[in-house]
C-alpha cells in the first residue's frame, strides 16, 4: 500500500509537470518541465521494479534527448512561443481536441476502474537486474536489437545529412 501512496504522490507531480509543459509559453520552461516529468517517470520505474529502465530513462531521455532539445531551442533562439492563436479555418480545433481528449480519458478510466477487470494472477517478481535485461536483449530480442542499432545508424546519418550546410 505504501507503494500506492508514493505512486499517487509521484503521479500528481508528474501530471503537474506535464501540464506545465502544455501551458508554458517559453520553450525552455517547457523542456525543463518535460525533464522533470521524465525524472519523475524514472522514479516511478524504480518503484515498479525497473531500475535498469529508470537509469536509462535518466541518461537517455533527460541526459541526451532533452539536452538536445534545450540545445536546439537555444541555438535557434526559439524559446519565445507566440500565443496560441489559430489560423483561419482552424477554429474548431481547440474545442474538438479538448472534447476528444476528455472522451479518451473517460474511456480509459471506464476500462480501468468501472469494468470488472479480468483477474490476472501476478507471478513471482522477476529478476530485473541489468544482467537479466542484458541476457534477454541478446537472446530473445537479439534480432530487434540489431534492427534498432541499424535504425540508430540510419537516424545518425539522416541527421547529419539534413543539417549539413550545402555549399
Amino acid at each position: 500500500m505504501s507503494d500506492l501512496v508514493i505512486l499517487i504522490l509521484l503521479g500528481a507531480l508528474s501530471v503537474a509537470s506535464a501540464l506545465g509543459l502544455l501551458l508554458s509559453q517559453n520553450a525552455i520552461y517547457a523542456a525543463l518541465f518535460l525533464v522533470l516529468n521524465f525524472i519523475i517517470g524514472a522514479v516511478i520505474f524504480l518503484v515498479l521494479n525497473a531500475p535498469f529502465l529508470a537509469v536509462v530513462q535518466i541518461s537517455v531521455y533527460a541526459g541526451a534527448i532533452m539536452v538536445l532539445f534545450v540545445f536546439v531551442i537555444m541555438l535557434l533562439g526559439a524559446e519565445r512561443l507566440a500565443p496560441t492563436e489559430n489560423p483561419p479555418g482552424l477554429n474548431y480545433q481547440r474545442p474538438l481536441a479538448v472534447t476528444l481528449g476528455v472522451a479518451l480519458l473517460l474511456l480509459s478510466a471506464y476500462v480501468l476502474f468501472v469494468r470488472p477487470s479480468t483477474s490476472v494472477v501476478m507471478t513471482q517478481p522477476v529478476d530485473t537486474s541489468p544482467q537479466a535485461v542484458g541476457i534477454q536483449l541478446f537472446t530473445t530480442y537479439a534480432f530487434p536489437f540489431e534492427v534498432v542499432s541499424l535504425l540508430l545508424l540510419a537516424a545518425m546519418i539522416g541527421a547529419v545529412v539534413l543539417t549539413r550546410k550545402t555549399e
Binding site: 500506492l4 499517487i8 503521479g11 508528474s14 501530471v15 506535464a18 501540464l19 509543459l21 502544455l22 520553450a27 517547457a30 523542456a31 518535460l34 516529468n37 516511478i44 515498479l48 525497473a50 529502465l53 530513462q57 537517455v60 534527448i65 538536445l68 532539445f69 531551442i73 535557434l76 526559439a78 512561443l81 507566440a82 496560441t84 482552424l90 480545433q93 481536441a97 476528444l100 481528449g101 476528455v102 479518451l104 480519458l105 480509459s108 478510466a109 480501468l112 476502474f113 490476472v120 513471482q124 517478481p125 522477476v126 529478476d127 530485473t128 535485461v133 530473445t140 530480442y141 530487434p144 534498432v148 535504425l151 540508430l152 540510419a154 537516424a155 545518425m156 539522416g158 541527421a159 539534413l162
Partner: protein, 100 residues
C-alpha cells in the same frame, strides 16, 4: 485499485496531455516534446503491465521505444533546424504548403 492500474491511468492522463500539446500548440518544438511525453506515457503503461504480469517483456519494449525515440529526436530536430533555416519559424502552421 492496485499500483498497476493507477500507473496505467496516470499513463493515459499523460498521454492525453501529450495529445493536447500536439493538437493545440503551434511550435514544432512543442509538438515534438508533446510526442515525447506521449511516448513516455506509453512506456509507463508498459512498465506497469510488466510489473503486474511479472514478465520482462514489457521492459524490453520500453527499451526499444526509448531507442526509437532517440533516433526520432535526432532526425526530427535536424528537420526542425533545417526548416528554421529556410522559414525562420518553428510554427507548424507555417508549413501548410501541402494543402489541397
Amino acid at each position: 485499485m492496485d499500483a498497476a492500474s493507477f500507473v496505467v491511468f496516470l499513463s493515459s492522463v499523460l498521454f492525453v496531455i501529450g495529445v493536447m500539446g500536439v493538437l493545440l500548440r503551434r511550435s514544432a518544438l512543442m509538438t515534438f516534446m508533446s510526442v515525447e511525453l506521449m511516448l513516455n506515457a506509453a512506456n509507463l503503461a508498459f512498465v506497469a503491465f510488466a510489473h503486474r504480469l511479472g514478465q520482462l517483456a514489457g521492459q524490453m519494449f520500453v527499451f526499444f521505444v526509448m531507442t526509437v525515440a532517440a533516433a526520432e529526436v535526432a532526425v526530427g530536430l535536424a528537420l526542425i533546424v533545417t526548416i528554421f533555416r529556410t522559414k525562420r519559424s518553428t510554427s507548424v502552421d507555417d508549413l501548410a504548403q501541402l494543402r489541397g
